[in-house]
């Protein structure tokens, strides 16, 4: 898919900062190099290199024994990944689009998430369910939905949603080394995004949010591609205000401390996500912050998600459905007027 921001053609290749997708490739390559039990499984992940190229080069480097192509049989594949994890492998199983998770929820929800608990700690399930989402490209309602709320709702699953190449690399490595199941949610609209701060960013573990920009009027809390939209809102539309932006990075575990410290300072907060608003993760975070900071906040903590409808196809409809810099800015100003 074409990059959304053209890579600067005049810059020499070695000087070009890593892109989001490079972070995935680096982490997979490094972890497979480090540990022979790490295998990659999925539809077209082998010689095909993945539908978005995320596994490109792995097949040539590690061979079909460890880069395992699967027919389009997601439920069987994920079940096999769970069984493999119980028998010594550390599978990274790819679900091509997050919407497809719904055809194979049993291995994720009833097996991987519950087995450790149901067996009283008798088994470990070291498995990464790698998937991607990303509305805004007219992919239609069955190839666009952000379902992190479903998986974060299931006890036993960790949920990582990186917003930049540095975090992709760090969080994917951490996910592969974790002895439990992790749902790793990439955003395809970020794949070709270079990360100019790749070398400057501090490497943070899962469960640590990152304060992306500091401010004193209001806190925006976001993850995935919404971090970029929120940044744009701050720079282009809210330049007269002092807005703090927190990239939550992982929903499970959730770094409520960092978010709460920010909201205690600013007194106001808006949680922004690409998932639809109703019964979404924003409501959960807003409620937890409210419970903790009831006497410190200066107004309601709100959330802004996609409209509660299937993702529409037509570009103007889809643009209206998803949060973006303009709607984030409007919601921020509205909150400040309360």
């Amino acid at each position: 898919m074409p990059p959304e921001t053209a890579a600067p053609g005049t810059v020499k290749k070695e000087q070009r900062p890593p892109r989001y997708i490079d972070g995935i490739r680096r982490a997979l390559g490094a972890e497979m190099e480090r540990d022979e039990d790490v295998v990659v499984m999925g539809v077209d992940v082998g010689a095909g290199g993945g539908v978005y190229g995320a596994t490109k080069g792995l097949y040539e480097r590690f061979g079909p024994e460890r880069v395992i192509d699967s027919p389009i049989a997601e439920a069987g594949l994920l079940g096999a990944a769970v069984g493999g994890a119980m028998a010594g492998l550390r599978p990274v199983a790819e679900i091509m689009y997050m919407d497809f998770l719904t055809v194979c929820l049993d291995p994720v929800v009833n097996q991987a998430a519950k087995l450790r608990y149901m067996t009283g700690g008798g088994v470990e399930i070291p498995i990464v369910f790698r998937t991607q989402t990303g509305g805004g490209r007219s992919s239609g309602a069955q190839h666009s939905q952000s379902l992190e709320g479903i998986v974060a709702h299931v006890p036993g699953l960790k949920v990582y949603l990186p917003s930049n190449a540095r975090d992709v690399e760090d969080l994917l490595s951490a996910a592969i080394r974790d002895d439990g199941p992790v749902v790793f949610v990439e955003n395809r609209r970020l794949y070709n995004r270079p990360d100019p701060e790749y070398h400057e960013r501090e490497s943070l573990p899962p469960g640590r949010a990152r304060v992306v920009r500091e401010g004193s009027d209001l806190t925006l809390i976001a993850w995935g591609r919404m971090v970029e939209e929120a940044s744009r809102a701050c720079e282009e539309e809210l330049a007269d205000l002092s807005v703090e932006l927190v990239d939550i990075r992982t929903l499970v575990p959730l770094d409520l401390d960092t978010a709460a410290a920010s909201v205690a300072k600013t007194g106001r907060a808006l949680v922004v996500h690409e998932a639809v608003e109703a019964f979404g993760p924003g409501a959960e975070i807003a409620m937890r912050l409210t419970e903790r900071l009831l006497f410190e906040i200066e107004g309601p903590i709100r959330r802004l998600g996609a409209v509660t409808a299937p993702t529409p196809y037509s570009p103007p409809l889809e643009e209206a459905a998803l949060p973006g810099a303009a709607t984030i800015a409007a919601a921020t100003r509205e909150l400040l007027e309360i």
Binding site: D37, V39, E65, R66, I68, S70, P71, A73, A75, G76, L77, L78, G79, A80, A81, V82, G83, G84, A85, M86, A87, G88, L89, P91, D106, P107, N110, Q111, L115, R116, Y117, M118, T119, G120, G121, G122, V123, E124, I125, P126, P155, G156, K158, D178, D179, G180, P253
Partner: protein, 324 residues
């Protein structure tokens, strides 16, 4: 049909009887303890199906894997799980196999390759394919057996599991226990088309056969053929073991759908009775009866120990949710 026993096979049959009697004694006590209100939740027992559990597991090694079903007590015991821990688990006690967090449907013990009973019909089939894949990719000679009922073979995971196992030539044995009933429905009433064996062959398995699931030796021999092929890298096989579910789908099921004449026919071919008869004919009746008595005594002790064990402390409720 009688099990015919050659002299050299007598000792083997006595061992089989011992193993089957332990399962039977466990299950009859589970049913009784459930009626008495000592076991909460759902319980599904495998009375009448012991020859399948024993026949299959006696062809396996300790490091081989099994996945099983909601009706999995017998498979777990046959694969080496400790019935004392299992009984305590059914009572929901801290000393249970899973610390009281799993119960009847979720017993697992990876030390014996038992990757778990499962409350979701057909879910264990792909899990076994994954375990077989792991053995293959990690260069061990382990095989994985997926125990499943005939009620699972119409679900999507059966199709995907066979497809993937054949594609990857994974060392897997699909041990389909045909106990005649899919919950409350006679399985033959919801079956059209070719036989299960033919269906499996069409997926491209290395071998598929239907065996008499009441004949422990026949089940073992079929499993040995399948395991041998799997260890040689020839890929998966399927065995359909014909047996009969003597109790209801769950304890408390009044089985109004059961045909009494057929029920009696199957009881006449009870695997433990067949083994006892054959051993008596071989002049080993006393040893056989002693084996049954020993099994009953062992399981009485398991019940006593389980009932005496403490419940887990409520402070454990949040333990083991996430890997540390």
């Amino acid at each position: 049909m009688m099990v015919t026993v050659s002299t050299e096979a007598t000792e083997a049959l006595l061992e089989d009887l011992r193993a089957m009697a332990r399962i039977r004694a466990f299950e009859t006590r589970v049913a009784r303890q459930f009626r008495e209100g000592n076991i909460p939740g759902f319980v599904h027992v495998s009375i009448g199906q012991e020859a399948v559990a024993r026949g299959v597991c006696s062809a396996l090694r300790e490091h081989d894997y099994i996945t099983t079903t909601h009706r999995g007590h017998g498979h777990c015991i046959a694969k080496g799980a400790d019935p004392v821990g299992m009984m305590a688990e059914l009572f929901g006690r801290a000393s249970g196999t899973c610390g009281g967090k799993g119960g009847s449907m979720h017993i697992a013990d990876p030390r014996f390759g038992i990757l778990g009973a499962n409350g979701i019909v057909a879910a264990g089939l792909p899990l076994a394919v994954g375990a077989g894949l792991a053995a293959q990719r990690r260069g061990t000679d382990a095989v994985a057996v997926a125990f499943a009922g005939e009620g699972s073979v119409n679900g999507g995971p059966f199709h995907e599991a066979l497809t993937l196992a054949v594609l990857w030539q994974a060392p897997v044995v699909f041990a389909i226990e045909n106990n005649q009933f899919s919950e409350f429905t006679r399985s033959e009433e919801i079956w059209r088309g070719a036989s299960l064996v033919q269906r499996a062959l069409d997926y491209g398995v290395a071998g598929a056969e239907r065996v008499d699931g009441q004949d422990v030796g026949a089940v073992r021999e079929a499993t040995e053929r399948a395991v041998k092929a799997a260890r040689k890298g020839k890929g998966p096989s399927l065995i359909e073991a014909m047996t009969y579910r003597v109790h209801g789908h769950y304890e408390g099921d009044a089985t109004p759908y059961r045909d009494e004449a057929e029920f009696q026919e199957w009881l006449d071919r009870d695997p433990i009775e067949l083994a006892l008869r054959a051993l008596r004919e071989d002049g080993r009746g006393t040893d056989a009866e002693a084996a049954v008595a020993a099994a009953e005594e062992e399981m009485d002790r398991a019940v006593e120990q389980g009932l005496a064990a403490p419940y887990p402390g409520t402070e454990t409720v949040m333990e083991d949710v996430y890997a540390s």
